[in-house]
C-alpha cells in the first residue's frame, strides 16, 4: 500500500515538474534573419526555457519550463506574429 502511494506521488510530481519539448516546422523560414526573428519571439514567451532553430530542415524545437506548456494555438500565434506559417507540431515529454 505504501509502495502504491509512493508511486502515485512520484508519478504526480513527475507530471507536475516535467518540461515539454515541442517540434514544429515553419513554412517561409528561409533565411538567417527569419530564423533569428522566430527564435527571439519564442524566447520572449514566459513558458519557454530554450529555443533551437534548424534552418536547413525548417524546424523549431522549443523546450518549455518545468510544469509549463505551450498550446498549439499559442505556437501558431507566435509563428504567425513572427510573419511565418506553422507546419506540423510534434510533442515529446
Amino acid at each position: 500500500m505504501n509502495k502504491l502511494i509512493t508511486l502515485i506521488i512520484a508519478f504526480g510530481l513527475t507530471t507536475i515538474v516535467s518540461a515539454e519539448t515541442i517540434h514544429t516546422s515553419v513554412n517561409g523560414m528561409v533565411c538567417a534573419f527569419c530564423a533569428t526573428g522566430i527564435e527571439k519571439t519564442f524566447r520572449k514567451q514566459p513558458e519557454v526555457e530554450s529555443v533551437k532553430v534548424d534552418l536547413p530542415s525548417k524546424q523549431v524545437t522549443i523546450k518549455t519550463k518545468p510544469g509549463k506548456t505551450l498550446s498549439d494555438a499559442k505556437i501558431k500565434e507566435v509563428v504567425t506574429y513572427s510573419g511565418y506559417a506553422m507546419g506540423k507540431i510534434v510533442r515529446e515529454k
Partner: protein
C-alpha cells in the same frame, strides 16, 4: 564634402553598433540598420519594426552619379503580401518616405515610394524593385532594380551563408543609365554584408544588421 560627412556618419553608426539589404522589415521589436554604397550614392536607413507588417524609421541618402542631392526622410515600410511556402517565401513590400531634399543649398520637399517584390528559397533569390522619386523642382525619376541570386551551399543560420548575385539597375536620372553588378553576399546570424563591382566601375558595398 557632403559625401565625406555622410560617410563619417555611416562609419560612426557602424562603429556604434559594433558591426551592421535584405528585407525592409525585421521581427516585431527589432531594429534594423542598413547602409548601402553603390553607383547611385550612399544610403543609411534605421528602422524599427512595430507590427508584423510595418516598420518605421529614417532614410538618409547622398545621391551621386548625377545631381548630388542630399535626402532626409522619415520612412514607413509595409509588408503588403507574403506567401509562406514549404520551401520558399514570396513578398511584396512598399517603402515610402516624405521629407527634405537639399540641392546646391536649396531645400525642396522630397517624396519617394518603392515597391519590392521578392522570392527567396534556401537556394534561389529573385527580386524586382521600381522606385519613384520626386524631389520638388530638382528631380523626378523612376528607378528599377532587379536581382537574381544563387546559394552555392546551404548552411544553418548560425554559420556563414554565402550568395552569388547579379544585379541590374536602370536609373535614367543618373549618368550611367544601366548598371550591371555581380556581387557576393555574406549572411551570418543577423549580419549581412555584400560587395560587388559594377559595369560602370563602381565598387558596391552594403551592410545590414538587425538587433
Amino acid at each position: 564634402m557632403k559625401t565625406q560627412t555622410f560617410l563619417n556618419l555611416a562609419f560612426i553608426t557602424f562603429a556604434s553598433v559594433l558591426v551592421t539589404e535584405g528585407k525592409p522589415l525585421s521581427y516585431v521589436g527589432g531594429t534594423m540598420v542598413m547602409q548601402e554604397n553603390d553607383e547611385t550614392g550612399h544610403t543609411l536607413s534605421l528602422d524599427y519594426t512595430f507590427t508584423p507588417t510595418e516598420a518605421f524609421g529614417v532614410y538618409i541618402k547622398q545621391e551621386e552619379n548625377g545631381k548630388e542631392i542630399f535626402m532626409f526622410t522619415p520612412e514607413i515600410n509595409t509588408l503588403l503580401k507574403r506567401w509562406n511556402l514549404p520551401d520558399g517565401q514570396g513578398n511584396i513590400f512598399n517603402m515610402s518616405g516624405a521629407g527634405i531634399a537639399t540641392y546646391r543649398g536649396s531645400n525642396q520637399p522630397s517624396l519617394w515610394t518603392a515597391f519590392l517584390a521578392d522570392y527567396e528559397s534556401r537556394r534561389w533569390f529573385l527580386s524586382y524593385e521600381p522606385r519613384f522619386v520626386w524631389d520638388g523642382n530638382v528631380e523626378k525619376s523612376v528607378w528599377q532594380r532587379a536581382r537574381i541570386g544563387f546559394a552555392p551551399y546551404l548552411a544553418n543560420y548560425d554559420a556563414l551563408n554565402t550568395w552569388i548575385m547579379f544585379q541590374v539597375d536602370h536609373h535614367p536620372a543618373k549618368h550611367d543609365h544601366f548598371v550591371a553588378t555581380p556581387l557576393i553576399r555574406f549572411f551570418y546570424k543577423t549580419y549581412l554584408f555584400e560587395v560587388g563591382y559594377g559595369s560602370n566601375q563602381h565598387i558596391m558595398v552594403n551592410w545590414q544588421i538587425q538587433f
